[in-house]
Assembly symmetry: C2
Homo-oligomer: 342 residues x 2
């Protein structure tokens, strides 16, 4: 397959083999210059015979770009992030661009580690799904000069392209739905305070409560962290009170926490939705498959990833330009986990 022993063939080997110069080979392979038909054929044949593949490092060094982008996600085990990642990879593949996967476990430490790493790697761009909301020097630096697109989570104080969905409207709608169903005492389990999505979803919830003319006191908020156990803990705090003060509906800032709440209910003999109605946010595939299918708000996860990649690649690879993207629409998913109280 190769004809040179030991090392992989280089463009020089191909040139020699085809009896042409290296530039001709390069021209032929990249369509970057005129090449006589017969020489082109000889080049292609030589490439075939030698099993030649250009060295990307050399190419990147010369071209000053690496044809790959970074993808920073908090945790692939959260289906929402997995869906976004699939969207990104699919779009990147269309442009023969490679995706470097960085999973941070939602820790600031690892987010910073990767921000630095990606800077060193001189990637063409980065798609950033923050799990912490922290915006320390390293991240600002990452964004500086480099092409970065934030997805899902928006970092304040940095002016960077962003792809997200209508968190606020989604939250308002699902809350309004619950209130219209007749619930008097509702509660909200929010995400981590520093995050834009947390803030937006909470705001939507409060708007709905206000629009329904309820006292804010009748709509308490417990702080969670978007993970399942925090939903469980929140349920404990909310439900271990005298029945008269117990909320009849618990709205959660994401599906994972809603599942945590459901687990608590199951463990403590509370039926959903008979005793407690529950809602989530994201509509992960799992949501519809739960013991009690979860009423939630769908974010177009795959599309978000895809659009982010389009946006980035438009900057980077001169791909077709894309609208700077407003907030993508969310869709209310009505399922069995919400019913009138009592």
């Amino acid at each position: 397959m190769t004809d040179v022993a030991g090392r992989r063939p280089t463009i020089k080997d191909v040139a020699r083999h085809a009896g042409v110069s290296v530039s001709t080979v390069s021209y032929a392979l990249n369509d970057s210059g005129p090449v006589a038909p017969d020489k082109r054929a000889r080049v292609l044949a030589a490439v075939q015979q030698l099993g030649y593949a250009p060295n990307q490092s050399a190419r990147s060094l010369k071209r000053r770009r690496v044809s790959s982008i970074g993808l920073i996600v908090p945790d692939l085990r959260n289906e929402f992030f997995a869906l976004v990642a699939e969207g990104v990879v699919e779009e990147a593949q269309r442009h023969d661009v490679t995706v470097v996967l960085c999973s941070t476990d939602a820790t600031a430490e690892r987010e910073v580690y990767y921000a630095k790493l990606l800077r060193t790697q001189r990637l063409d761009g980065v798609i950033y799904l923050s799990g912490t909301g922290v915006s320390p020097g390293a991240l600002a630096e990452l964004a500086a000069g480099r092409s970065v697109v934030f997805v899902d989570e928006r970092l304040l104080g940095i002016d960077v392209p962003f792809v997200g969905s209508e968190n606020r409207r989604g939250a308002r709608e699902v809350a309004a739905h619950v209130l219209e169903t007749g619930h008097e005492r509702v509660a909200f389990v929010s995400g981590p305070p520093a995050l834009w999505t947390s803030e937006q979803r909470l705001a939507g919830y409060r708007e709905a409560v206000a629009a329904a003319g309820r006292e804010p006191d009748a709509a308490p908020v417990v702080v969670g962290d978007y993970r399942r156990p925090s939903g469980y803990a929140a349920a404990q705090r909310l439900l271990e009170v005298p029945a008269a003060r117990r909320p009849t509906a618990i709205l959660c800032a994401n599906d994972l926490m809603a599942i945590g709440v459901m687990e608590y209910c199951r463990d403590h003999g509370l039926e959903v939705p008979r005793h407690v109605s529950i809602t989530g946010f994201d509509d992960v595939p799992l949501a519809a498959l739960l013991s009690v299918p979860l009423t939630t708000v769908r974010q177009p996860a795959g599309e978000m990833g895809q659009r982010a990649a389009q946006l980035l690649l438009a900057h980077v690879a001169g791909a077709a330009a894309v609208e700077p993207a407003d907030l993508l629409p969310t869709v209310l998913q009505l399922r069995a986990s919400v019913a009138p109280p009592r």
Copy 2:
């Protein structure tokens, strides 16, 4: 932050700034040669001031390795693969090695595309989770000379390091459990025929059936494809028959198909496990959260990813050597989806 306008600082800039030669800078930064303490300090200061970060393309070109590995997965939306991916990324991070994510949607076409791509990229190695079992030229070529580790799915006819679990024993155990529970008419929904895991799990099932002294006829097999809809379809075929011939237990070659079977049951008024017992394979996190928690076989997904990365990096980066890895143990997870018949 940078002092040269427009372009990013190079090692030359650092050298000039620190008043030393480029080789000294290189020595200082890589601990690859002797450097006087004061000069080292000056170099570090210059690096800091200029915000210098070495150009990876140049470094890779020179070093002849890129410090990154490829990860080919069928689909991150399958939690099992997401878990493996997390394991890989975590281990890679420990060695400052970057992971290039390739998601193939379990199509041979995309598997081949990525196999070629990774070859061109001259990655240091590839971790390969096949979703098709195809082993055409491109893949063999990928494996040739390159460091490749297969995970979960083993490709026959190629001698390559492999990390997997005891599929056969796991399947045998769960099947034995179901049979011991008293089921007379059982059925199996297998994975795609070409895959090693399919074949192993089917073999385990058959062993258990034989060990229980049952006629093979009393234990039919329906072919699925490891995806949810194929489980649904299989259930339809198995359950739309006269009650007397209907299996009382359906064993599935993975969790996703088991979920599909459950959906069918839900849609057709069949209670699990009262009318039908169901089992899966993988133990994805979702399995325990289903309306009826699923009896299944746990594969140590994260650990598999981690070990694969260790194995690969030992080859590649001279990391600590690792045992060539036998099959990792599986663990039977007994849950509510199995009960005695009737």
